[in-house]
């Protein structure tokens, strides 16, 4: 059961991105920055999960299912893109930008240390 935890975390973030991209209300992305960050985290965790998840216990078919979900999320993100503001609250521009930068750096770092 313990071995499934990384996989379940991965599922949560990929599904979260799909919801952010497609949901009309609950969990929907409020702006482009949020949508991009949801996608970056989902893709980054998927790449890290490639090395962390026990794919002998969790079938590799689950990997392909997650990739398909990610692709579906990307389609939703592209279609929704024009309808979203860059930032929902421009007053929080500095805080949101810093937060996004740090999150992206952590995600890329995670991908690097697990895959390089």
């Amino acid at each position: 059961m313990l071995a499934l935890i990384p996989f379940l975390v991965l599922v949560a973030f990929v599904v979260g991105f799909v919801v952010a991209a497609w949901s009309p209300r609950i969990g929907a992305a409020r702006d482009r920055l949020g949508l991009v960050m949801d996608g970056v985290i989902a893709a980054g965790l998927l790449l890290a999960g490639r090395m962390i998840v026990d794919w002998s216990t969790v079938s590799v078919i689950a990997w392909y299912a997650l990739v398909a979900l990610l692709a579906a999320g990307v389609v939703g993100a592209v279609l929704r893109w024009e309808k979203l503001p860059v930032l929902k609250d421009p007053a929080k521009r500095t805080r949101r930008t810093w937060g996004a930068g740090i999150t992206a750096a952590i995600t890329l770092g995670l991908v690097a240390v697990t895959n390089l």
């Binding site: 790449l47 026990d54 392909y64 990610l70 240390v113 697990t114």
Partner: protein, 360 residues
């Protein structure tokens, strides 16, 4: 082309790119090789027994060993394929201890502080026999904050968790408290200290001691203890239990606890020497194999070697595991028979080896 159509095409293109990337980057955990080498019956036993422990398999090699004969088999590997034997290395360190006692360089009751600069730390008073039989009270691994952090990092990275030189090892021992000294508690730190203490007593290094004390006399020409620098770039590596590629372990100053690389053929030579009390060992193997100490303080253990409790069987054994390899050497001393199983994934081969020993 109108704008909505262009956006749909972009979305479709992005989706195709994600799917293509996903296919290219798909995880590919190894699966047990179907290429049989050697004895087909033994190979069948290997294939049938791999479900005895969880985790992925890639290649396996094994031998059923008798005093003057051996049967080899493998799946994707043969008796000359190199593996990391992990903690079976501790039995070599124990043998070096027995040899050093025989030469009069040390005694089993010598405190390790006589050979390594452990100052007035608790570890200094621990005897060499206690280190070998895991009764020192030292922790399994170093417990300093940087060492624990480095250990966790190496697990995450699949890298060698022991990049420490002898000074670091001594610092780890100095910083360690002893817990329930006299009770068996497995300690890599303790056996690493033992190996370095023996090397210091012989005024040489551990690798040289191993080469001249065991590898050369037994003719184990395919067995080695490489340093990280000397490890060939194409040295064989394995996989974690989850199927992630794992780096080779050379273990630096901790090498006496688990860094030997060997083959089934060479391990057969080693096992036969133990079963037959080969004079090339320099000592009676009973000095390392026979359980010693109190029997109510945990497992039956000699110098590194474990002996099954009577209700579980009669095997004398030691297993091993590194980031990417697993190993098990089990001896039936009564029948002068042994089994060695080596695998290049970290999935345990203990039950597999025991079942083959019982079958035979």
């Amino acid at each position: 082309m109108n704008r909505p159509t262009r956006i749909r095409l972009i979305a479709a293109g992005a989706a195709v790119a994600v799917l293509a990337g996903g296919v290219l980057a798909a995880p590919r955990p190894p699966s047990l090789s179907t290429t049989v080498t050697g004895d087909s019956d033994l190979a069948s036993s290997l294939a049938a027994g791999v479900d005895s422990a969880p985790g992925v398999r890639d290649t396996l090699a094994a031998a059923v060993i008798e005093a003057d004969d051996a049967t080899f088999a493998g799946l994707g590997a043969d008796e000359n394929t190199e593996f990391e034997i992990g903690s079976i290395t501790k039995t070599f360190t124990a043998l070096l201890l027995a040899q050093a006692v025989e030469r009069g360089e040390v005694t089993l009751d010598s405190p390790v502080g006589d050979y390594l600069d452990l100052g007035d730390s608790a570890a200094a008073e621990v005897t060499l026999a206690e280190l070998s039989s895991h009764r020192s009270g030292l922790p399994r691994i170093a417990t300093t904050v940087p060492a624990v952090a480095a250990s966790l990092w190496s697990v995450y990275r699949g890298s060698d968790p022991y990049p420490y030189d002898v000074d670091d090892l001594i610092a780890h021992a100095r910083a360690s408290a002893l817990t329930d000294r006299g009770t068996v508690a497995y300690s890599n730190l303790g056996v690493a200290l033992l190996g370095q203490a023996l090397a210091a007593a012989a005024d040489t290094d551990y690798a040289a001691l191993l080469q001249t004390g065991i590898f050369d006399p037994l003719g184990m020409t395919a067995t080695s203890l490489p340093t990280a620098d000397a490890l060939p770039a194409d040295a064989r590596t394995g996989y974690s239990v989850a199927g992630r590629p794992a780096e080779a372990w050379t273990m630096s100053a901790y090498a006496p606890a688990g860094a030997i690389r060997s083959t089934v053929a060479d391990m057969t030579v080693y096992a036969q020497a133990l079963l037959t009390a080969d004079p090339a060992l320099g000592v009676d193997p009973a000095t390392v194999l026979d359980p010693s100490g109190e029997t109510d303080d945990g497992p039956l253990i000699g110098l590194a070697w474990f002996t099954q409790a009577p209700e579980d069987g009669t095997a004398t054994w030691h297993n091993g595991g590194t980031g990417g390899f697993a190993s098990m050497l089990a001896l039936n001393r009564t029948d002068e028979r042994a089994v060695i199983v080596l695998g290049n994934t970290a999935a345990s081969v203990d039950a597999l080896a025991m079942s083959i020993l019982e079958e035979n």
